[in-house]
Symmetry: C2
Subunit: 266 residues, 2 copies
């Protein structure tokens, strides 16, 4: 039975009492909150995206038993670091994350961004340890799913096994799209593609698809897209001059999605 706290110490050494979490627990019985750790898979508003999507009520209950709801992470806190032993995958419950590897020059390279409903940590399944480090871009929370227990439950619940294969297959297909993007798109096409991806991912979690915050820095975006932060900034400015987006610091507004789509469709 996963009390929310049992395993919380694993996460990035956050040990002091977190007032926000305390508040969440207090209101748990009344109204669910995105960071609320008392929520269960069956009443999570993300269950349409996450693992439970393919499961019936009884199956969701079984999944609930193995899911550990850790305390929230603060901006910059690490979920795990490169080479940490692999133990769990994580479902993003609220907030967003970036994964990155450290190059031989000490320079980081961002390999992925994660939003609510998405699964983090699958790169660690093969090697027994995580291939990258993952940190929170804002106040965030996750569901931790111990992998050996997920494997065991997968054998009992065909729908769960099938869905987890699908989640991994989706990650592979997505990575191949990024491969294409990096190997053949111009800087403008990369940025537009990135913004459209964020937009559709925000809409999946019922957030405004045409007005959102970039919780990552221009530098993070640049590392992810294989561009410098100056180029990212210049292209934002150029797209704004063309009237396709409005940029105000970290806030992006999509003004003409059709023309943006036209840029990457040619």
């Amino acid at each position: 039975m996963s009390s929310a706290n049992e395993n919380a110490g694993r996460v990035a050494g956050i040990r002091r009492i977190d007032p926000i979490r305390a508040a969440n627990v207090a209101q748990a019985a009344t109204r669910p909150c995105p960071h609320n750790s008392a929520i269960s898979c069956s009443n999570c508003r993300l269950n349409e995206l996450c693992l439970p999507i393919a499961l019936n009520k009884a199956e969701i209950h079984q999944l609930d038993e193995i899911v550990q709801r850790n305390r929230p992470l603060k901006k910059g806190d690490h979920l795990y670091r490169q080479n940490d032993p692999f133990k769990s995958v994580f479902a993003v419950r609220s907030g967003s994350f970036k994964s990155y590897v450290l190059g031989s020059d000490g320079q980081g390279r961002v390999t992925a961004f994660y939003m609510p409903g998405e699964i983090i940590g699958m790169d660690g399944i093969a090697g027994g340890s995580y291939a990258n480090s993952t940190s929170a871009l804002e106040h965030a929370s996750v569901c931790e799913i111990p992998f050996t227990q997920l494997e065991k439950l997968s054998r009992e619940l065909p729908n769960l096994q099938h869905h987890f294969f699908a989640i991994m297959g989706n990650e592979i297909a997505k990575d191949q799209q990024i491969h294409t993007l990096l190997s053949s798109y111009t800087a403008e096409e990369r940025i537009v593609s990135f913004l459209l991806s964020l937009s559709s991912r925000y809409s999946r979690v019922s957030l405004a698809p045409d007005k959102f915050l970039l919780h990552m820095t221009r530098g993070d975006i640049g590392e992810f897209l294989g561009l410098t932060l100056e180029t990212v900034s210049r292209i934002f400015t150029a797209l704004q001059k063309k009237g396709l987006i409005a940029v105000k610091n970290k806030e992006i507004e999509i003004l003409d999605i059709a023309k943006l789509r036209a840029i990457i469709t040619n």
Copy 2:
């Protein structure tokens, strides 16, 4: 019970009798040949790399039952095409393959190369259809593994399930490495990294790691690495002038692996 021919018609419409395959069948009882379709998982020389690695003798037999050994493919034959309904994953038995997507300009972009022992088609698991097209770079053969049967057997054989999760996790980790390569490496670093990757993959299948053939064209390599074919050619020439490799048409010889490694390690 999978007779090797039942399902062969699926593959790229090769329907005429293939003399090479006929020869293989004739000699099946005597000595195993890489293209030989009568071979089983237990006596396949790739079983250390492929799915059977984690299985015991009885389990391998069960796997053997669902594996379909299709007739060989000729250079240019397609294993499947973009948007074909997903039905199976394929283990490369002999030869090599490339996967590619067609851009909106009709221009192809190579997303992966596959060598013996590697698994093809996992990008199709999520969407119900293959996200790319895959064709043989030379005379080649595969084991076809119908996915629903693999899922079913995975539930019965924990080792198989675990290993297939690991294979998919490995694909994800590998794709993230390529992401890093494409977003931060110079042309020379990409080529060197590519050659070293081929070298280590050849050595895994007991082929010379320091002298091998590039079955793909310079254009294919360029598309894969996000470079033009001219740049690929120029860098080969430059590495040869530095005495690190010898290039003779499609044949590559690695002359100084330490210095090559130093290029990507900085």
